[in-house]
Amino acid sequence: MTHSAAAEAPLASSPLTYAATAIRRNPTIFAGAVLLAILAAIAIVGPWLVADPFRQAPINRLRPPSERFWFGTDQFGRDIFSRTIHGARVSLIVGLSVATLASLIGLCVGLVCGYFRRIDGIIMRVMDGIMAIPTILLAIALITLTRPGLGIVIVAIVIPEVPRIVRVVRSVVLSISSQPYVESAIAGGTRNTKLLARHILPNTLAPLIVQATYVCASAMLIEAGLSFLGAGVPPEIPSWGNIVAQGRTFFQIAPWSILIPGAFLAVTVLAVNMLGDGLRDRLDPRLARRM
């Protein structure tokens, strides 16, 4: 590995050249990462710079994009540009929290399943049960269960995503534990924690990260879908899903109110997916060939 990298990048002393090589070798990761970095910057810094996204001015309702309102205004006369920038924050929070939570829970449950074979059957039946219920229906039902809020939406998307991760982790654990070197380690009396830390966890990490990027992308789309159906985050919160959902009534008279935030959503999901694809090719060639 060291050898081949050195061979391909003989001038590795210059960080610029090294970066250039990295980009050439992994253009998708690079493109995805750059796009995401930009969006993340917008999400973090943007809200400080733009106008108040809650400020209503009914006199200015449904104005097309102009110098004053870059992305136009919505039915309350709120500035869509500023709402879209705030929306980046909400959507990324949803995507990242769902991916993180689902991965962590999925990892723990998956490890338990792969490791303690006795309760594996029960847990997997429960997972099958949750998986058998369509994601969006489960989420709608969960959201109507409690008061809608960002937290509830996140939880409602996490629950149906967990079983998918559990399956991935569990299958990795099972295949790793049947490897001769792991079996011999077990026979040799290696402690569970050590076994976990040294052999199993590192191997699950790559597929887990790849899976997490897909979960992240689908979470953002599901959030938009839930808002569309009127069961998402509270309508006053400027999430992209909400902006699009509220703008849909005006699609023919104010297309900007739906197309611009929609495009932001699409580009973000695209960036996450590209990053995921690139990582998968890089980290997990075996999986890459299957997908």
């Binding site: 049960g129 058998a132 219920i133 369509p134 969006i136 039902a141 992308a217 159906l229 699009v244 997908m291």
Partner: protein, 313 residues
Amino acid sequence: MTAYILRRLLATIPVMVVVAIFVFFLLRLAPGDPAAIIAGEDATAAQISAVRTQLGLDRPIFEQFIVWLGGMLQGDFGTSIFSNLPVSRLIVQRIEPTLSLMLATLAVALCLAIPLGVLAAWKARGFVDRLVMLFAVLGFAIPVFLVGYVLIYIFAVKLGWLPVQGYTPIREGLWPWMESLILPSVALGITYMALIARVTRASMLEVLAEDYIRTATSKGLTTNRVLLLHALKNASVPIVTVIGIGVALLISGVVITETVFNIPGLGRLTVDAVLKRDYPIVQGLIIVFAAAKVLVNLLIDISYVFLDPRIRY
């Protein structure tokens, strides 16, 4: 084989039980009260509580569960709180539109995605491949309802070629039926196409690298024959698997597509019932969806036997 199917069917029982328990308690813990909704806009508290008693919603939740489960076992899904009609009837009259939409989507997706995937694999790393892959990545990124609105605007409102909304049952003529399905199935199919095209391409690439394909090519078989007879057949197992995963995806997509195109299918029924807290319908539907999904998985496992002679049960 029969023994395998039986075993698989038995294994679905615990899954269905989990689903049943989960769904029932989830809904009953929800804060909404169907009695208040059904009693109407100006109903007084006394009227609402009378409705609640009449619907049996004031009884202990556990008792309600037993009653419902008992009914289910006898094939009785209960009665809709709002329309007073049997849930089974409401579900049955909605199956045709949803099934049609799913089949049409499947047809659109397969007829376009598999050739695209094969093409991309054949011309791997070329311009066509890049284009197909770009489409595949984009297909995942655009929300279904956005695609739906744009399609309606172009093909129905501006050009007037196709109906905007609704569903025409197949018994009223094949063309009206198909006409009502074209836009929704394309809108819904885009995500699905993207998924299948990717998997087709990937598994084709894997198979094309195998020795026997090289042998076949060197024997002088035509490219078409190699691609389709040998490569595609051997690549079909992962493709079929992903079709199965896609059915799950479709069920979720159907909910939104049916809303945009106003198709009176199961997805719409579910959303309406959840928002109106018509518990018996939601319970019945989720059981039906779950059962359908379990069934599809079973069918797919069985199809492996036919596609890949190495697999035996």
